[in-house]
């Protein structure tokens, strides 16, 4: 039963207020993209054992989507941040580095 802090309304929301939205920072590929690009965009996921970036919606709350950086093995939460960004902010990356030196996730580290 996770608790995530909603960066929009500031509530420490328990899981039942939230809706999980899958992997974060996917780049959308539309018409004109290759089959591989489109396939990876829709189906290929990192599924890491460890640091992961994912989307959540404060569904039973302010209704906003946000991002969370979380460890899939310990469920440790490194931080949450706005959904209006295409990559994790530096302070989140630093927070992860402090706990998981040498971490990488897709292009990020």
């Amino acid at each position: 039963m996770l608790i995530l802090n909603c960066p929009y309304c500031g509530v420490d929301a328990e899981e039942t207020e939230l809706a999980a939205g899958g992997e974060a920072h996917l780049k959308r590929y539309g018409p004109g993209s290759s089959d591989d690009e489109f396939h990876d965009y829709l189906f290929m996921r990192e599924n890491p054992k460890g640091v992961h970036f994912e989307r959540w919606r404060h569904a039973n709350g302010c209704g906003k989507w946000f991002h969370a950086a979380r460890c899939t093995q310990t469920l440790e939460v490194f931080g949450t941040y706005t959904a209006q960004t295409s990559e994790p902010p530096q302070d989140i990356k630093d927070a992860i580095a402090a706990k998981r030196p040498g971490w990488t996730w897709r292009g990020f580290s």
């Binding site: 018409p31 919606r57 310990t74 440790e76 939460v77 959904a83």
Partner: protein, 1004 residues
């Protein structure tokens, strides 16, 4: 025999007698008794039968760890199987029945299993009952199921008479366990000002320390407990609950508390159980320790009990478990039992101590005239339903040279194991403690919370220490540590000084005698309820079931209702020995919640009966209810399937509605259709991405039918979109689509196109919407008066704001039936009044309300697709011949890229057509069209399927729509649909529009 003492019993109130029945016999007990203590007081030692061999079972413990003394409690709608007598508080009128026997407890047919025990070793059923094949299902299994299964099933029609609830609590520090350690830890934590919650599973505070004796700061333990409880109760920041068990520890500091409010006072107003959902920054587990049995032959005979339990029954409830008792031990603590029994006037024949040297307590026992035999062991306990005699031998050796002693009870102590469940539930790791031969929490590897730091601290004997002084000191430290970790500054203080007689070291004894021969090992029980013996674990190891998980599953060790609280460590030790490995190397099985079983009803909480799930109602719900509505759940909504009149079948009603709507006037409650306002400078651009067709070009005042696809290309929703003003659109969605599509839009706006200036609002429930349908639709509206609804003023696919009668409304000239049709939205608060007005005004025009089935048939007659019928999550617009709705002009919209994938562009895909049965019959729902031959897996080749199929009262024949391979190119051909009814339905492929092909009716 077991009996009640004239005095003693710190927990019972002798002035309050309580009457109860066991297997129909009326018995007496006192307020404060548990069912177990009361039964013992009535010399009822045998309380049940074991699971596999149906052997007689007596109570062995005095608390939550009890594996044997389980009963069926209560009657009728309050009957509950497998209730532990040791945790059941006695009350007047309690009725209990013993379990797993036939015809009765004393004489049980199933006990033949016991005679054949030798032929039924661990895992025997994997090796037997294989031939002949049909026998498993019809002969072997029924017998096994019948003889297993423990408690009686509640009556099939019983309905729980009680209510249940949840409660959300938030605290800085949660302390689980109200013994001296828990109390002290709570005090230490609370001193910091932190919010502290303390829960205890029993009805009293102090745990077992008051029984074990000793002094705290010079006072008797009882006095210390009373003072401390009073002190804590007086603290503003401390919440205390007893009868509230810590059931499970979950991720991010989530803890389940299982509070039993009225189990001991049935019938009293209020909920029976309350399931606490506690969020704690830090959790202190002060859950104590559980004594281990000793493994010797016959250790399962009624009368053989844990030494600590026998002690509890004397001190807490003034009950002796026997008149002539032998104590067997590998540690000093058991001498306390010997001494207390002796002082209570019980004849303690001797203490059989596997060790050569014991501590001062042994000396004390000798002073009282108790014979102590060092280096000795119990070779075998004799007796069937009650201990009769005990054979004593040397601990070293195979158990020869026995001396037999007559007695009626045996107290055994194999040392103590900390209760580490709460520590382990969420991933806390354990470490092996050589000195005490037990697993205890490894402070280096606690369960981790949301911040990646440990969030559980173990305190007192749950953490390893067993001596009173050490327990209190450890609790003080734990309490302070928890408060610190929760972000508070506790006042550091010295723990109160606990003093007890010092004890000599225990010696691990996993088998009595040390090299017991096989005949003894086959009678040495590990799991009393599931009948797992030392020899079974050794057999499992020999056969290669080496992992502790394998052994557990192969022998069922620790899988009984006590989940191995007594048996697991002993079994583990036997396994380790058999594998010639060290115990910590073998490891433990996983500890899973709950600590002890919790009622399913408490998990469901308030969600039962009328609040099981929400039912969404439209403003006209009551009218429908009063007028014969046959309800259909659509998501959480309730919609009317048909309005059934007296003497009518549902089918009749549907046909009546179908004809009347085409011939006269029908009313549909369309309030459940979603209505989303989309507004902003970029709204048009946004809707062009959401819909497959162009919405930005829609003129103000006009409506357009739109399709929505997922990014994966599949149809997800459809509906009519209306342009309200320059930068505002109103999008209709399917019923139940409102929340889904609203979320869908917000998702794209917030996570992909966050720089677009668009706001969305869900106004679905602001309006009651009524479809006024049929040749007389305009007449009824004109009769009510108000806005001009003429063809000229309000043409097809347009909308207007205005008044109808005296109702403010928005009228849409749209049709899902092919009839002259208006959908009229009025404020929900006036929906019912508006509906009533239409019904009244409509009388002269033959008005009838119609339901969802009529709606389906009308649209099918017109070949309109229905999301959820023609679509199922695998269908794309191209399959349905909706190419016209796929904008060629737009370079992008959700689903466009997906449609260009090979399989979606495949000409072999099944395509939408109409289907007309040759004989006019109705093709069964879900029927498939078959082609020639079979595929590589021997399955009949299919070339299509029916998506919607109905009897059309207007056409008086069966009509259907379906997806058929190359369908549109095969007009006029006949395809076959084999039904599950044995018939084969022949249907001609036709155009899907069955009625009013030119659409004249809707354009009048």
């Amino acid at each position: 025999m077991s009996t009640r003492l004239a005095k003693q019993g710190r927990l019972i109130n002798r002035s309050k007698q309580v009457t109860f029945t066991f297997n129909g016999t009326s018995m007496q007990g006192y307020e404060g008794d548990t069912l177990a203590s009361a039964l013992l007081a009535n010399d009822q030692m045998m309380m049940g039968r074991s699971f596999k061999y149906h052997r007689p079972r007596g109570v062995v413990a005095s608390g939550a760890e009890e594996p044997n003394a389980l009963v069926g409690l209560g009657q009728g709608n309050r009957f509950e199987p497998n209730q532990r007598t040791t945790t059941t508080e006695l009350f007047n009128g309690l009725t209990a029945i013993s379990q797993n026997h036939w015809p009765n407890l004393e004489f049980d047919i199933g006990a033949v299993n016991s005679a054949f025990a030798r032929f039924l070793p661990g895992g025997f059923y994997y090796k037997m009952f294989i031939h002949p094949k049909p026998f498993w299902k019809h002969v072997y299994e029924p017998f096994i199921r019948q003889s297993a299964g423990l408690g009686k099933a509640p009556d099939k029609d019983s309905r729980d008479a009680d209510t249940y609830e949840h409660f959300y609590a938030f605290t800085d520090v949660l302390v689980i366990g109200g013994g001296v350690a828990g109390l002290q830890a709570a005090k230490a934590a609370a001193s910091s000002g932190a919010k502290v919650m303390l829960i205890e599973q029993t009805a009293y505070w102090g745990g077992r320390a008051p029984v074990d004796g000793g002094t705290i700061d010079g006072n008797p333990v009882d006095k210390f407990v009373d003072q401390l409880v009073a002190e804590l109760e007086a603290m503003e920041n401390v919440t205390m609950r007893n009868r509230c068990m810590g059931a499970g520890v979950y991720d991010h500091g989530y803890v389940l508390g299982y509070e039993r409010l009225t189990d001991h006072t049935p019938g009293v107003q209020g909920p029976r159980h309350r399931l606490w959902r506690i969020r704690a920054k830090q959790v202190v587990t002060a859950t104590g320790a559980i004594e281990r049995p000793l493994s010797f032959a016959g250790n399962d005979v009624p009368g053989v009990m844990l030494a600590s339990a026998m002690r509890d029954y004397v001190v807490n409830w003034g009950v002796t478990s026997g008149e002539r008792v032998i104590v067997a031990t590998n540690n000093d603590d058991a001498y306390r039992t010997a001494i207390i029994l002796k002082q209570a006037g019980v004849d303690v024949l001797r203490v059989v101590d596997a060790r050569d040297t014991a501590g001062p307590l042994a000396e004390e026992a000798r002073q009282l005239g108790i014979r102590v035999d060092p280096g000795k062991a119990i070779a075998k306990v004799k007796g069937g339903k009650r201990v009769k005699k005990v054979a004593i031998c040397n601990q070293e050796g195979i158990g020869g040279a026995r001396e037999e002693v007559e007695c009626d009870a045996v107290a055994m102590s194999g040392g103590w194991s900390p209760v580490v469940h709460m520590w382990s539930h969420c991933g806390g790791k354990l470490t092996w403690d050589e000195a005490n031969a037990h697993f205890r929490p490894d402070p280096e590897r606690p369960p981790l919370g949301a911040n990646g730091e440990g969030f559980v601290v173990a305190a007192g004997s749950a953490n390893g220490p067993l001596a009173l002084g050490d327990v209190l000191a450890d609790a003080q430290t734990a309490g302070e540590a928890a408060a610190n970790a929760a972000g508070f500054k506790p006042k550091t203080a010295d723990a109160p000084k606990g003093e007890t007689t010092t004890e000599a070291p225990m010696e691990p004894v996993w088998l009595m005698p040390s090299n017991a021969e096989i005949s003894l090992r086959m009678k040495s029980w590990l799991d009393f309820q599931n009948d797992v013996k030392v020899s079974d674990v050794q057999l499992a190891a020999r056969e290669g079931y080496e992992s502790v998980e394998h052994t557990k599953r192969y022998t069922t060790l620790g899988m009984a209702t006590d989940q191995g609280k007594l048996s697991n460590i002993n079994g583990l030790a036997i396994l380790a020995d058999a594998l010639d490995a060290e115990i910590p190397k073998v490891g433990t099985t996983t500890f899973r919640p709950p600590y002890t079983p919790i009622s399913l009803a408490s998990i469901g909480g308030e969600a039962r009966g009328e609040v099981f799930q929400p039912i969404r109602q439209t403003p006209m719900h009551d009218w429908h209810n009063k007028n014969g509505a046959d309800w259909e759940p659509v998501g959480h909504w309730r919609r009317t399937y048909a309005y059934v009149r007296p003497g009518e079948s549902v089918h009749d009603a549907v046909n009546r509605e179908v004809k009347n709507t085409r011939e006269n006037l029908g009313l549909l409650d369309a309030s459940t259709l979603g209505k989303l306002i989309v507004k902003g400078p970029d709204a048009g651009k946004f809707l062009d991405m959401m819909y497959t067709n162009m919405m930005s070009t829609l003129k103000v005042g006009k409506c357009r039918y739109g399709l929505m696809c997922s990014e994966n290309g599949f149809l997800i929703d459809d509906g009519v979109v209306a342009r309200i003003d320059e930068d505002t659109w109103l999008c209709h969605t399917t019923t139940g689509g409102a929340e889904r599509i609203h979320g869908h839009m917000e998702e794209w706006l917030q996570t992909e196109w966050w720089d677009w200036k668009v706001y969305v609002a869900n106004v679905t429930e602001q309006y009651a919407q009524v479809a006024v349908v049929g040749p007389n639709a305009r007449k009824v509206l004109e009769k009510l008066g108000g806005m001009d609804v003429s063809k000229e003023a309000l043409p097809f696919m347009e909308w207007r704001d205005g008044k109808i009668g005296d109702f403010d409304c928005r009228a849409y000239r749209i049709s899902f039936s092919g009839e002259l049709s208006y959908e009229i939205a009025v404020p929900a608060s006036q929906g019912r009044a508006f509906w009533d007005a239409l019904i009244a005004a409509g009388q002269e025009f033959g008005v009838m309300p119609y339901g969802t089935e009529c709606l389906h048939i009308l649209r099918a007659e017109k070949g309109f697709i229905m999301i959820g019928d023609e679509t199922d999550g695998t269908v794309i617009p191209q399959d349905l011949g909706l190419h016209w709705a796929l904008s060629k002009k737009k370079e992008d919209y959700l689903g466009k890229r997906a449609h260009s994938r090979t399989h979606m562009a495949d000409p072999e895909r099944w395509k939408l057509v109409g289907l007309e049965t040759v004989d006019g019959s109705v093709i069964p729902d879900g029927a498939y069209a078959v082609g020639e031959g079979v595929n590589a897996n021997g399955q009949r080749n299919m070339i299509g399927r029916v998506t919607s199929t109905y009897y059309s009262a207007n056409l008086d024949r069966g009509i259907a729509m379906g997806l058929i391979k190359h369908g549109p190119d095969r007009m006029g051909e006949i395809v076959e649909f084999p039904g599950t009814d044995g018939k084969t339905y022949k249907a001609k492929i036709v155009d899907p529009i069955f009625y009013d092909k030119d659409g004249e009716k809707q354009n009048v």
